[in-house]
Symmetry: C2
Subunit: 443 residues, 2 copies
């Protein structure tokens, strides 16, 4: 009987394996995609794109046993050759090729010059050629960092006693009312796509005390801005037995500290490719909504129009102010007005026109909304009633409260927005593999 016993180790080596095993002068086998070819006549540099980076291989007349013409850009190949220490090569070594095996060949030339360090290409063109444009080393590195953020979120929360949940994206009614919902037919019944796991994660606090989810959310908003998507990845958590809503901000700060450390430790290559220094997370200032509004109005001589919400420009200026005066990349803005908060937000007993809520601004952009939630069943019913809302469709949510819930709160982080400002991009589509917006449903 034939059996499989585990991962098959390969004869071909990865960049880190060659580096760590000190193989200078040894023959090795490597594979990869032909990223670029620089033909110098009797010598040619064939740079392979591998998952760990670029690897310089050298074709030499008389040494390599094949014609350079056999190797096309965008082919995938396997080379056998000698490791040669070479400080000018991207990895500090190169491979002097002896033999080659072609694994696959492209059918047509590249539509974009992906081998350039910075592609001189519009966002539109990059998105229209996504499968190709992402092969650029810098484009790819953005998504490696995005992986690091998601990974940091999960690993940190596992360590803090959170349980990961998978809540349904198809539902009968959503957490936050009827607007901006994608609607569909579900076996002859009306259904929606969830715009947040809010109700579910709260229900699960009664089960696991602390839960998180990393998954897609859907918003049928007709915004067409640089910071909105109609489908994005939300990093959500919800935690019970809190003493105050500051526990939630503290947990988020812990996540950011853990994650920046993880990026510096395990994603150093990608940070270097993009020339990024991770932001300061050792202490994050917190400021009340009303105070922040006043500070910005005063410092930048700006009239404020909407007293119940922050305009994007105000968020930008709050970020600027705290950067200038305290060197802070992040600011927690707390105590948003009750009037603009969702029904489940807990009012501040000291002044019920404000809620125990917060946004986290990262360099002037809102990347998180969170806060303490109402946990008492009667209080929740009273709030729903005071808002003139119906409980219909919320029976299951309310049942959790009817049968006892601890004091709790949580937050949602927009993964793409956090990635965007970490990297210093100005359009959230730059850090979304396949963005969905008003005009884009493909690729």
């Amino acid at each position: 009987m034939k059996v499989i016993t585990g991962v098959i180790s390969k004869e071909t080596l990865e960049i880190s394996e060659i580096r760590s095993q000190n193989l200078n002068g040894c023959e090795v086998r490597v594979n990869g995609a032909v990223h670029t070819i620089r033909d110098m006549g009797e010598v040619a540099f064939i740079v392979l794109r591998k998952r760990e980076g670029l690897l310089q291989c050298v074709w030499e007349q008389g040494v390599s046993d094949f014609s350079l013409k056999e190797i096309k850009e965008a082919a995938t190949v396997e080379f056998a050759g000698i490791v040669n220490r070479e400080e000018r090569a991207p990895q500090g070594f190169e491979i002097r090729i002896r033999t080659a095996r072609i694994l696959s060949e492209p059918a047509e030339p590249m539509p974009l010059q992906i081998s350039k360090w910075k592609m001189n290409t519009s966002l539109e063109a990059k998105l229209n050629n996504r499968a190709v444009s992402l092969r650029n080393i810098r484009e790819r590195a953005k998504f490696r960092l995005q992986e690091g953020i998601t990974r940091g979120f999960r690993d940190f929360l596992y360590g803090q006693g959170f349980t990961e949940v998978h809540t349904p994206k198809l539902g009968a009614k959503s957490a936050e009312g009827g607007a901006n919902l994608f609607k569909l037919e579900y076996f002859h019944r009306p259904a929606i796509l969830q715009q947040s796991p809010q109700f579910y994660k709260q229900m699960m606090v009664g089960v696991f005390d602390r839960v998180f989810e990393t998954g897609p959310v859907f918003r049928a908003e007709k915004h067409n801005t640089k910071r909105h998507l109609n489908e994005y990845t939300s990093l959500d958590f919800e935690m019970g037995y809190i003493d105050s809503f500051e526990d939630i901000m503290a947990m988020e700060t812990g996540f950011l500290q853990y994650t920046m450390d993880l990026l510096n430790r395990e994603y150093a290559d990608d940070l270097e490719i993009l020339g990024i220094e991770t932001p300061r997370t050792d202490q994050i200032p917190q400021v009340r909504f009303d105070e922040a509004k006043q500070m910005v109005a005063k410092k930048y001589d700006r009239k404020f129009r909407n007293p119940f919400d922050l305009e994007p420009e105000e968020e930008f200026l709050i970020g600027k102010l705290f950067q200038e005066e305290y060197g802070a990349d992040f600011v927690f803005v707390t105590h948003y007005p009750s009037k603009k908060s969702p029904f489940y937000a807990m009012d501040d007993t000291a002044d019920p026109t404000y809620t125990l809520s917060f946004d986290l601004l990262f360099r002037g952009l809102e990347i998180t909304t969170g806060g303490q939630r109402i946990h008492d069943y009667h209080e929740l019913l009273a709030k729903i009633s005071a808002r003139g809302m119906e409980t219909e469709g919320m029976e299951h949510y309310l049942a959790a409260f009817k049968h006892g819930m601890p004091p709790h709160g949580g937050l949602g982080i927009g993964l793409e927005r956090l990635t965007m400002h970490l990297i210093g991009e100005e359009n959230v589509r730059e850090v979304t593999l396949f963005p969905r917006d008003l005009s884009r449903l493909e690729p």
Copy 2:
């Protein structure tokens, strides 16, 4: 300026903290939900449900400074009391309560007896009271193990050089044709929910060499069986530079080995609560589709009807046969007929009526479908054409191949099915937090 500096450490202790710090005789504070109260007169056992398990607390007349009547089942509370070693208690110790603080109270009595070890409740009733039924210790443990599987999948693949991706769930056309798709309107354009990240993960092999995703998939199938859901969590990976489709099975075996080890190490409490021994993964037999069919027909004297696919009963019998004859919990069934395979499956050059594909059966249930894919652009076009299919809507997918793709393959694992058979459940809804099926769109 007020600042947040990181996670706030709590004065209340978790079970593992009390256990590891040897606090016998010391006063501690603990919080939790009142899981059950056993009133013995002058003494009462108040069992708290905490995220790490059940904690026995003892109310004693004259010692505890409050009346037992103040404590209701399903309330959440904070107790201060003395740690007392007690072998008969669930954790080997109990808390002799001195003072209590009520954090929240339920509004109504429980609809289900969640404090019973095994709830004597139908699946239907459990699903209709999901926020409450999951508070049962055994119910909850199933989802802890499910977390362990997802976590094991990711951690193992990070270690193998895979990059995590987030691909869109809203799309214009799906990987595997038009049947069984949920349809919706996307800003006045027809859209669908993806039934698999297949196209996207293949495209991303050209970028990252190895990718994975853990996310929801949507299937509008009108099946009403114990093993089908209309929304489920798929664990997908795709890897480039494979030498054979056996590399994929080897990677999956590695994942299973890593994950069972993780469960035994970090989820031992949950395994014990459910009385589970993890299955054997040191070697997994592989058998060809046609041979498996014959073996089952012979051993169980069973006629086979459909020569191109395995009926569920045949899968069950293959599982049984390999369990009986080789003590195997898992079996790879390989080389499925081309006729029933998707267009992108690579045919076996030795006999093109079969593909280089496999299913993984776990105790007779298919939990994975995978295989090698066609990587040559012209070959892919020829296959599409031979099937009488259109390339319309596949331009972006095909572009990846047009511009060069390495030999590659991958798989998709149904998380709920794997969890179900690990735990020994017979209905996939038992291991789905909020199942979506023909009749169920809520809670």
